[in-house]
């Protein structure tokens, strides 16, 4: 069996777990500890940890099959941390999420976060849908998503300049 990982990074983490909600908090703490190696700024570490938590929560909510994968990569060349979360989902869910990212990109990050905050309390039966806006504004991350139609897997990626 080959153990796959990406070389030439300042740190590479690849975790796959069953989407049990209770694992999200310990994964966030693990990511924050992982980032402490080669990174000094606690604020940046916290931003990535919070984003990991928010993306894992989304993946947990919308996963149609058990299993969530998360990759964290610290670039050796640029001052960048890349966070990717993968889960199986429906085409409809994937399209909804990608549309949300498209909508978010048209706004100033603070204005959009405030707009989403106000929207989130209008229908409390639904999930808050604040996570992406939070990562976008508080984490100042560049967010994108890719849906593999054949595999039915969505990847949500957040890039942080640290």
């Amino acid at each position: 069996m080959e153990i796959k990982y990406q070389r030439n990074t300042n740190g590479y983490l690849d975790i796959t777990f069953h989407p049990k909600w209770d694992y999200i908090a310990i994964t966030r703490l693990y990511v924050e500890n992982f980032l402490l190696i080669n990174m000094a700024d606690k604020e940046n570490i916290h931003k990535v940890g919070t984003a990991a938590s928010e993306l894992l929560e989304n993946a947990n909510k919308f996963s149609i099959e058990n299993g969530i994968r998360m990759i964290v990569k610290k670039s050796k060349v640029d001052k960048i941390v890349l966070l990717s979360v993968f889960n199986k989902t429906t085409k409809e869910n994937a399209e909804k999420l990608m549309k949300r990212i498209e909508e978010m990109d048209k706004w100033d990050s603070l204005d959009y976060y405030i707009y989403r905050m106000k929207e989130s309390v209008k229908n409390k039966k639904e999930s808050s849908q604040l996570g992406l806006a939070r990562i976008n504004h508080e984490g100042q991350a560049q967010i994108s998503a890719f849906f593999d139609k054949e595999e039915g897997v969505i990847e949500v990626k957040a890039i942080f300049c640290i």
Binding site: A25, R28, K42, T50, E57, N60, K118, V121, S128, L130
Partner: protein, 124 residues
């Protein structure tokens, strides 16, 4: 001066209580539906503040290690309740934050934009 009366909550590693005119929220909020226990507490506290004509309260989150976005929504909901009150019933909320928990600076700064006349924060 009146006191905030609200039944304390201790659930899933989160504690919420009111003492005098200060609300304390501590622990780590990772729950998928924190509204199940946050909302009744906040509603009771809000009604007590309005009934007792309390003009200013503090919300101490210095021991709140983490708050997910579902938890942020509960605080937004509280602010919206405040915003919908008639002017003479509105009260000020001062959030007491800790510089140790990095999320507090960014999250609470954004929350304050929802009503900068009545919301403020102090970081210890």
């Amino acid at each position: 001066m009146g006191e905030i009366k609200a039944k304390p909550v201790s659930n899933s590693g989160i504690d919420m209580k009111a003492t005098g005119t200060t609300v304390y929220i501590s622990g780590s909020i990772n729950h998928p539906r924190p509204g199940e226990f946050m909302e009744p507490f906040i509603q009771e506290a809000h009604e007590s503040i309005v009934t007792n004509n309390i003009q200013e309260i503090k919300v101490d989150i210095t021991n709140l290690k983490f708050l997910n976005s579902a938890g942020i929504r509960e605080l937004v909901d509280w602010v919206m309740k405040l915003n919908h009150l008639p002017e003479e019933k509105k009260y000020k909320i001062e959030f007491l934050c800790s510089s140790e928990h990095k999320w507090q600076e960014s999250s609470m700064s954004t929350l304050i934009y929802l009503n900068s006349n009545y919301l403020s924060k102090v970081t210890k």
